[in-house]
Amino acid sequence: MDAELVIGAEGVRVHPGGAQVLTDLMARHERQVFRLAYRLTGNIEDAKDVTQEVFLKVHRSLGSLDGGRDPSAWLYRVTVNAVTDLLRKRRPSMPLPEIEPAGSHPTPERELLDAERRRLALEALAQLPLKERSAVVLRDIEGLSTAEVAEVLGTSEATVRSQVSIARGKLRRIIDRALGRKV
């Protein structure tokens, strides 16, 4: 927890279990949690559910948070775990999305092109195992170092390097195939 998070708006020390602390934490970190959840789940509704679950867990854990440490790494880890739980529950009824072939959505404008690229990236990510997906998202999109990713995922740096490398290779093949490039 950030050190100043226990100071309320009036400069009064807030009880660690108070809603004010949670509100401050959400204000600072909700976008980080929501975006990671979206990149890992691939859709807004699941990202909202995951974000809600993460901050409810934060509220339950307020008393045990270390006030001197940045909670970002912990929040990343809680988010990845929440996504894992969500996908595990939904696995039987949630098939992976199919990537549509290139050219099915002609998008001449820049905005539509960006949207198409986002859709393509999300669908490619969805085809990766969650561990590889988490490693490559944290490393290449969130911008964490290999050591930080290893801490978030609770694994070694060597494992993270391996997972990221494999994930990149798979993503490249998936995207090339979707774009009609020769693999």
Partner: protein
């Protein structure tokens, strides 16, 4: 092969509808916390209702009409006493003190008392 995937950069920016989604999430989280805080209140209220019901039931038992049992205690009949007039006679007896064993060289005195306190018979032996 291990270079970054440029297509992933498309995911780096903000997400469409992010602000609205986060506002919704914020509301859901705070509402959920509020609900969790309220459950002890509801539990206490439910406990109060249960206690009140039990107390009411107990009180109704206390206020129920009590069947009174009356017992009449009659003293037993007094025994019949037949008194007959009997003349009382005062028997004249001499009170005789046991003789004291005579010691040698000691004078023995026997005192006889009669019904009349003014009359005492003394018998002295040597």
């Amino acid at each position: 092969m291990n270079d970054r995937i440029p297509e992933l950069d498309a995911l780096a920016g903000p997400i469409d509808g992010e602000d609205a989604a986060l506002a919704e999430v914020r509301g859901r989280v705070l509402a959920s916390i509020r609900r969790r805080r309220q459950w002890p209140v509801w539990l206490a209220a439910a406990a109060m209702v249960v206690v009140t019901l039990f107390a009411g039931r107990f009180a109704s038992r206390l206020n129920a009409p009590v069947q009174t049992l009356t017992y009449s205690l009659q003293p037993p009949p007094a025994p019949e006493v037949h008194l007959s007039a009997v003349p009382v006679r005062r028997a004249v007896r001499a009170r005789v003190k046991p003789p004291v064993k005579a010691q040698p060289d000691e004078q023995v005195v026997v005192q006889l008392e009669t019904d009349d306190p003014n009359v005492v018979i003394l018998w002295i032996s040597d």
